[in-house]
Structure formats: structure tokens, C-alpha cells
């Protein structure tokens, strides 16, 4: 865990983004030199449709305190419909996660286009400050640790 001051908790957030819109939008944030928090690390996918939602659980299990999923605006998907499928899948998955007791407030879904550099910075900063307030996701870590120790899941 990375800590600036001893007492301030710095969340670790993974962002799953699509190559054509949000990744490019994040590039634009960089080109525009807009600053945002260091807590978010981006993983590139060809399309939000590719994002297997088990990856989200893997991220939590690995120690992530929050997750961002971001892709092209509806109707703008580079592959025409990948983001629609991702969104539909997310609607179902979200309810299931909630039912299972996972804190879905820690997962942020956004649409960021290749032209919205400033928006990406806002999404990052918003999510970081929200997760910082919510604190570390200790419940999931405890559960993951328990499952590993009990050899119920094998790494």
C-alpha cells in the first residue's frame, strides 16, 4: 500500500478502459497536462465488451479498493455495439454483486470519449476522493484471505 502521510489512506484503484475512447481520452488528459491523482492505474482493452467481469473480482482480491470501468459513449463504440453489451452485462452483474454483499459503490462506470481529456481527470479525481472517504476495502481482503487460507481457491 502506498502512503503519502502515515495517517492518510491512499486508495489503489484499477481502471479498465477501452482503447478507442477512454484510453485515447486519457492520452488527451496527458497531452493537455491536466493533473490528477496517482492512485489509478489503467489497463487497456480493445473494447469494454471484452472486459470479463471476473477481472473485477480479481482486482478486489488483489487489493484494489476501487474500480473504474470506462468506454465509448453509447452509439460511438468503435466496434458498434461492444459498449452496449458491456453495459447490459454490468446491469445484471451489479445486482448480483450487490446480492453477494460486495460494495458496488466502489465500482464506477463512466463513458469518456477520446475528446474528453478533462472529463477523465474529473472521473479519476472524483473516484479517488470517494474511495478515500470510504476507506480501504478490508472486508474483501479478509474474505479473500480466508478463502485462500482455507484452500478453497487456489491462486
Amino acid at each position: 500500500m502506498e502512503e503519502k502521510n502515515d495517517n492518510i489512506f491512499e486508495p489503489r484503484i484499477i481502471a479498465f478502459v477501452c482503447n478507442w475512447c477512454t484510453y485515447a481520452g486519457a492520452d488527451l488528459t496527458g497531452t493537455s497536462r491536466i493533473k490528477y491523482s496517482t492512485n489509478v492505474e489503467i489497463v487497456r482493452f480493445p473494447c469494454t465488451g471484452r472486459i470479463d467481469f471476473m477481472l473485477l473480482l480479481k482486482a478486489f482480491a488483489g487489493g484494489a479498493d476501487g474500480i473504474i470501468i470506462s468506454g465509448c459513449h453509447p452509439n460511438d463504440c468503435h466496434y458498434t455495439s461492444g459498449n452496449f453489451h458491456a453495459r447490459r452485462r454490468w446491469m445484471v452483474f451489479r445486482d448480483m454483486l450487490d446480492f453477494m454483499g460486495i460494495d458496488i459503490e466502489r465500482i464506477r462506470w463512466s463513458w469518456v470519449s477520446a475528446a474528453e481529456g478533462a472529463k477523465w481527470a474529473d472521473v479519476v479525481n472524483d473516484t479517488v476522493s470517494k474511495i478515500r472517504e470510504m476507506g480501504p476495502y478490508t472486508e474483501y481482503k479478509k474474505a479473500a484471505k480466508f478463502l485462500e487460507e482455507e484452500k478453497i481457491i487456489h491462486e
Partner: protein, 667 residues
């Protein structure tokens, strides 16, 4: 055991100003699987690339991670460098340390630690990357152009002149399209047919072009480079091998009062007809719906008089199949008729006509031989009112877009009228005048200044008839909304350009997208205006959106180049970032159960059915999914959909992505 090389670029100072590049390289060298790590000022430069190539050779690297600017910038550069050093390019990945780290964070410990994390994530992914080879798909060297207007004609000629074979199909009996109906074209006032007919003849005579008129696309199967088109050749009732085009039959046909489509209903034709004298091919066809023989079983006069015995009744439509490599859709557009407008008479008033009907009046080969005359009584109108934006730019009528060409052709019509009727008075009611092309603004100014056309800015609320005159009630907004009432002899409506009837069905046959107005959808409105989302099918002309002749010709040539660039390659080479369905040993053959959920969501129809058969008996054991490497674009939606995890996408496999995510979080 992997041997990955990690190369951290300073990018001058762009990265090194905030990220401690040496430290990142040092951390990388301690990561599992990394055999070599270094940093350098400009990795993308020649010496930088040499650094990578030498390292690959010296250390026998089996993977490369470059910590640099965005992969959207230099991934191809570094992949090429690896390729030149003998390493499969898909074993090289980029860690984005500039746009995503150094440019967005302040200098500090957190920034450098993040850079190290990101490099670690990519290293873990590359450890699981597999070498991939570009895919080669065979190509049929023939193009199909659908629609024989100026766009189709231009595209066919361009492709044929590149030495490639073309099939041009046109649903009417002649090619030429709307351009053949025009009298003169703006801004030069060239005679439309004079510039068009030489091209029409060229198409008919070109050795590389096969022309099928009175033909429609019945089915299109297959994929890029390998289409199979089924074409319906409608029965013309005339054997073109025997017909000499003498035209005697058209003079003898007793059905003389059929409204001529070519003359937009202002003239008449016979049941056996050629649409216009310069038709290509200049041979007639029988319109079964109006022919006495086909409707009532009587007549057969044309057959009696034909000197070569070319008339053949009751032949069925013929179907032919052709193998095609590329398709260009040039089916054009249409304009609304006057019956669409309740405020302008619902089509009741004979002297309220469309711009296209006015073209026919002005045309020397038209129903009035080029004289502007009222359709009701044949008198020459002394006062004409032109109304722009009829239907266009009107969300209440369901047509919010601008039809682009009307301001120009309305100015042209007014000018032609003034040239032909010297004491005539023309008024144009407009909202804006859109004259953006080359010499277009000057053309409109000529209408105003030299030909004294009255431009009144305002809409027309109503047109109704009284005592043989048309009362036009409009407004002049530039004179503070003063109502203007004109007693006109003729009213010409610049009606909206709309998609052809049948456009939706055609698009669905070819699996191309279309917008809510049934214009075909381009792949990208700015950068891919002549391509569709379906690989191998291109668009040109007004079927994509209303456009004038120069734009149509330009887009047709553009689409032709796209087609030729496809056809002129020996094989089609594509990036191997595609989905793959697993195969394994019998008796499983594949974990795929054949549910074909993937097929329902693939936007590119890239999922095919493969029957796994018993080798000896030929019996089908199971039907599983198979990805067509020619069509798959690599979005990966099917991967997340598959319930049995039988599909994975090369370059972003589950193994690679899980490893990357886990690595980012573990210290």
C-alpha cells in the same frame, strides 16, 4: 522461463522530469522474467531502436516492454524494430509512462512507484503473450457496383481503368440516374447529358465492365474478398442479342398514356419503352404492369412489327451468381413529391411542381422541349415562385437535416427561367442560402445581380389555387416580418432529398448499417466517409447523404480506390488481434457447446458454424462456433459472452489480462 527486455525511455525530459527513469529500469531488472533492463533518452530514435535490437540479439530476448509514450503513438514503431531483430512483433508491448503518468502527475515518489507498477503489469502480460502472425485471406479480383448513376459510373470506370474487373448492376432499364434527368448543372451550366452520356457509353464499351441493367441484387453472402452475389436479371421481354434498338416497337405500342418516370410524371411513355433517347443500353424493355399482353392477354403488336423477332414474352426472371471481392453501393437518392406537403396542396395543384420536375421542363429533351410551360394549361408562366427548404431542416416533418443541393439548384432554376422567359419574374423564398462549393457563391450572386431573381427571406405558409393562379402566402423576415402575397403562375418546391425506396431492405441484405433516414452509414463521418462498418463494402454518392455532382464523383473515385487497394493485393493481410474458438482432442473437440450466443452479438457476422464430423461415417457430432479471420475485428465482446469460456482473443487473452491486473496490485 521468460527473457524479457525492459526499455525505459526518458522521452527527452517529458518522462524523466517527473519519473525517476533509472530507478524504474533498476526495479524492472529485478522483476521476475526480466533478463535485461535499461533506460535511454530517446527510445524511438534510430540509436534507441538499435539499442533494443541489439539487446534482443545479444540477450536472446523473447519479449520486449518499452516504457514510453502512449502505444497509440509508437507501438507500430517498436513492433517493427523487434520484427527487424527477429522477434515476433506481438511479443512487444508498451507501458504508457508519458500520457498516463509523467504528464499527469507531479514529480515525486508516488509517480515513480506508479511507473514501476505499470511496467510490472505489462511485463507480466508479455510473459504470457504468444507470437502471432498476420492473417492472410484470399481475394476474388472482381468488384460489384450497385447502382448506375454518376457515382456508379465513375466508380466502375475508375476500377476498370486500374485493370480490375467490374460488374455494374442498375435496377432501371438504363444507367444514368438522376444526372441524366437534369438540364444544366451548376455552377458551370454545362448540359448535364452532354457530360454524362460519353461516360455512359464508355461504361457500356469498356472491356473490364460487365453491365447488367434491369437487374437487382437478390442476395449477398460471404465476406471481404470472398463475396457471393446473386443477381436477379428481371425479364425485359426483349432479347438484347437480337434487338438493334431501332425503336419501331415503341411507336406501335397502343398503351401510350403511361406517366413517364424519367419525366417525373410530366410526360408520357409507352409500355414497351426506353426511358430516354440517350439510354444506355439503347434497347427497350416491357413494363409488365401496363402492357396489354401481360395484363389482359391481348395485343402483341410489338412482336408483330419487330424486324428481328427480338420480342420474347413470358420469360422468367433469371438469376446469376458471381464471385466478388469488393462491393461499392451507389444506389443514390430521391426527392420528395409534392403530395408530401399539405400546406402546398397535397399534390392537388398541377402547377405546383418539384425541382426535379422543373429540370424536366427546362431540359431540351423534356416533355415541353425545353420551354417552361405550366403543366395545367401549357401557358408560359410570367411569375414563378420558388420555395426552398420544403421538408428539409424541418423536424416537425421528420427531416431535420439540410438537403445541401437545393439552394444551388433553385438559384440555377431561377436563372434558367429568366434566361428563357425574359419578361418573367421569379421569386425565391429562402431561409439561408448555402453556396459553399467552388464558384458556388459567385453563381448565386449572378442570379441576384445579373438575372434579377428576387430573393425573399421567409417561409411560405400556404399555397392555394384561385382562378387558375397560385396564391403564395409568405413572409419577408428582413422587412420585419411583413407578409408577402404573390399571385404566381407556377410554384417550384425544392423538396428534401430522401433515401430511395427499398434502401432499408438492400442495407439489410448486405448487413450494412443505415441511419434513421435510411441513408447508408459510413464507418466514420470524418475519416472514413466511403467505407462501411462491413469490411469490403464501400459507399459513394447520395445513398450516403444528399450531395452534389462534384462530391459524388469524388466519393465514387475514393470508393473505387478503396476497392482497388483491396483487389490489387495478392492476399488480404490483417492484424491477428482476433478471436479464436478453442479446439482440442476428441471426444470433446472443443469446449464450445454450440449455443451461438456469440453469433447473436457479433457486429461483424464473424461467427460461423462448423460441423465437427465423424471421419468415417460423416455424421455430425457437434456444431461449434468458428471465427472467420477475414471478418473479426477483435472487439472481444464474444469472449466475455461465452459461457463456457471457449473463445479467447489473441493479444488480449484471459491469461494475459488476469496476469496484468494481478501484477498491478501485488507488490
Amino acid at each position: 522461463m521468460s527473457k524479457i527486455g525492459v526499455f525505459i525511455c526518458h522521452c527527452g525530459e517529458n518522462i524523466s522530469a517527473t519519473v525517476d527513469c533509472e530507478r524504474v529500469a533498476k526495479s524492472a531488472s529485478e522483476m521476475e522474467g526480466v533478463a535485461f533492463a535499461t533506460d535511454y533518452k530517446y527510445m524511438c530514435s534510430d540509436p534507441g531502436q538499435s539499442l533494443i535490437k541489439n539487446a534482443i540479439r545479444e540477450h536472446h530476448l523473447d519479449g520486449v516492454v518499452v516504457g514510453s509514450c502512449s502505444p497509440r503513438m509508437h507501438e507500430p514503431t517498436f513492433r517493427r524494430a523487434c520484427s527487424e531483430a527477429g522477434l515476433n512483433p506481438y511479443l512487444c508491448e508498451i507501458a504508457n509512462l508519458r500520457e498516463h503518468v509523467s504528464w499527469v502527475h507531479e514529480k515525486g515518489e508516488a509517480t515513480t512507484l506508479k511507473a514501476i507498477d505499470i511496467v510490472k503489469g505489462v511485463v507480466e502480460k508479455v510473459r504470457r503473450n504468444k507470437p502471432l502472425n498476420a492473417i492472410e485471406v484470399p481475394i476474388t479480383k472482381k468488384a460489384l457496383v450497385i447502382g448506375g448513376g454518376i457515382a456508379g459510373i465513375q466508380a466502375s470506370l475508375d476500377i476498370a481503368n486500374c485493370g480490375q474487373k467490374v460488374i455494374l448492376i442498375e435496377k432501371g432499364p438504363s444507367i444514368g440516374g438522376h444526372m441524366s434527368q437534369l438540364s444544366e448543372t451548376f455552377p458551370t451550366l454545362d448540359c448535364s447529358q452532354c457530360i454524362l452520356t460519353p461516360r455512359m457509353v464508355e461504361v457500356a464499351q469498356h472491356p473490364n465492365i460487365t453491365l447488367y441493367t434491369y437487374a437487382e441484387l437478390d442476395k449477398l453472402d460471404g465476406f471481404i474478398g470472398n463475396f457471393k452475389a446473386t443477381i436477379r436479371l428481371k425479364a425485359k421481354s426483349v432479347d438484347y442479342n437480337k434487338c438493334t434498338g431501332c425503336g419501331l416497337c415503341t411507336t406501335k405500342c397502343p398503351q401510350k398514356k403511361i406517366p413517364s418516370e424519367f419525366n417525373e410524371g410530366l410526360g408520357l411513355r409507352t409500355a414497351i419503352f426506353t426511358p430516354f433517347p440517350q439510354a444506355v443500353p439503347n434497347k427497350p424493355a416491357i413494363d409488365k404492369e401496363h402492357c396489354n399482353y401481360y395484363q389482359k392477354g391481348k395485343c402483341k403488336v410489338c412482336q408483330k412489327f419487330c424486324p428481328t423477332g427480338a420480342i420474347e414474352y413470358d420469360k422468367p426472371d433469371e438469376f446469376i451468381t458471381e464471385d466478388i471481392g469488393a462491393v461499392i453501393v451507389t444506389t443514390g437518392f430521391n426527392v420528395l413529391k409534392t403530395d408530401f406537403f399539405p400546406e402546398y396542396g397535397y399534390g392537388k395543384y398541377k402547377d405546383v411542381i418539384t425541382g426535379l420536375q422543373f429540370e424536366r421542363l427546362a431540359s431540351a429533351s423534356g416533355p415541353t422541349l425545353g420551354e417552361i410551360r405550366r403543366p395545367s394549361d401549357g401557358q408560359i408562366p410570367k411569375k414563378i415562385v420558388f420555395i426552398s427548404c420544403c421538408g428539409s431542416r424541418d423536424p416537425a416533418k421528420g427531416i431535420p437535416y439540410c438537403s445541401k443541393i437545393c439552394c444551388m439548384y433553385t438559384a440555377k432554376h431561377a436563372m434558367l427561367y429568366q434566361h428563357k422567359v425574359h419578361d418573367g419574374e421569379s421569386t425565391i423564398f429562402y431561409m439561408d442560402v448555402r453556396a459553399g462549393g467552388k464558384n458556388y457563391e459567385e453563381f448565386v450572386r449572378r442570379a441576384v445581380e445579373e438575372d434579377h431573381v428576387n430573393y425573399v427571406r421567409g417561409r411560405v405558409a400556404r399555397v392555394y389555387e384561385k382562378n387558375g393562379k397560385l396564391i403564395v402566402k409568405g413572409v419577408d423576415t428582413l422587412l420585419s416580418a411583413k407578409p408577402v402575397e404573390i399571385e404566381a403562375d407556377m410554384v417550384v418546391l425544392a423538396t428534401a432529398g430522401v433515401a430511395n425506396k427499398g434502401a432499408e431492405e438492400l442495407a439489410q441484405k448486405m448487413h450494412i448499417s443505415y441511419d434513421p433516414y435510411h441513408f447508408f452509414a459510413e464507418a466514420h463521418p470524418k475519416l472514413k466517409p466511403v467505407e462501411t462498418n462491413t469490411a469490403g463494402i464501400f459507399l459513394a454518392g447520395a445513398c450516403q447523404s444528399p450531395k452534389d455532382i462534384p462530391e459524388t464523383v469524388a466519393s465514387a473515385s475514393g470508393a473505387a480506390v478503396k476497392a482497388v487497394s483491396l483487389l490489387s493485393q495478392p492476399t488480404l493481410v490483417r492484424e491477428p488481434i482476433i478471436a479464436v474458438v478453442n479446439r482440442c482432442a476428441p471426444p470433446m473437440f472443443s469446449t464450445c457447446v454450440g449455443c451461438f450466443m456469440c453469433e447473436t452479438i457479433c457486429p461483424y457476422n464473424a461467427i460461423e458454424h462448423e460441423e465437427i464430423k465423424d471421419r468415417r461415417t460423416g455424421k455430425v457430432i457437434k456444431t461449434v462456433a468458428k471465427i472467420n479471420p477475414g471478418l473479426c475485428q477483435g472487439c472481444g465482446t464474444c469472449v466475455s459472452f461465452c459461457r463456457s469460456k471457449s473463445i479467447d482473443i489473441q493479444g488480449y487473452t484471459n491469461e494475459e489480462m488476469f496476469a496484468e491486473v494481478t501484477a498491478l496490485l501485488n507488490k
